[in-house]
Symmetry: C2
Subunit: 145 residues, 2 copies
């Protein structure tokens, strides 16, 4: 097990992951309290994680409720967890940036795709058990470091 | 992109993953419809995925509701999704097998750990978009192949 990373290092690792990673696990829930989970492509626009999914999908319906979302990035032994809320996004600049990152443009799909921005309220990052202490990097939308 | 796998191959890949993988993403929800997500170690006992978590944890509280759970295994581009329900487990044999697999025995932790078996009702597996067709391998608890 490596030595635990400093708070600064964890924050920079987390920001690098948000900017570089292509996909994340998106956990949502419906009003009845059933959980849903799917890996989706995302784009970090500096404020939140932009995702795109068909309007009729379970994820879109759940995100449309405005309830809390939880996102897992990375590997199970090098994890970043993001708790946030989702807001609909409909501007051209965001959609262009999403397509540029992924080489995939949901606007060209036959289905009716919608976009959401998942805005982090809490961010946690840890690798092994020795990093559980100090894992919270953002609280109430504010970076702690 | 590789050619899509046959149903038989996806099933054998999925069973191999259930037996071999150490961790999975466990998505649960509370009664208010807020999603929770965490990577946890699991052990496949042939019927379901055995997990262990502190009794006071969000995951344990959500699983105790008996609502639907959704589990993601593998990588975001080689994914297995399991929908199921969780039942409490309290037999010694299961706890021994869990500890033997992981070299980690929750009974030796200071906290009060409980065990659940997540029994699959639906299993889906796909790698890239060309495997979305035929991704459902189990429905209503029955393997389709």
């Amino acid at each position: 097990m490596d030595a635990p990373r400093s708070a600064e290092r964890r924050k920079s690792d987390t920001l690098a992951r948000l900017e570089r990673d292509a996909d994340a696990w998106i956990a949502t829930a419906d009003v009845a309290g059933s959980a849903y989970l799917l890996p989706l492509s995302f784009f970090w626009d500096g404020i939140g994680m932009i995702i795109s999914t068909p309007r009729s999908s379970v994820t879109a319906r759940n995100l449309g409720r405005g309830a809390r979302v939880r996102v897992g990035l990375g590997e199970v032994r090098d994890v970043t967890m993001v708790d946030g809320t989702a807001e609909p996004v409909d501007d051209k600049q965001t959609k262009e940036a999403f397509a540029a990152k992924h080489g995939w443009d949901p606007r060209k799909e036959s289905g009716d795709y919608v976009y959401f921005r998942i805005v982090p309220e809490r961010v946690q990052a840890w690798r092994e058990v020795n990093e559980l202490r100090g894992r919270t990097l953002m609280r109430d939308g504010q970076w702690l470091t």
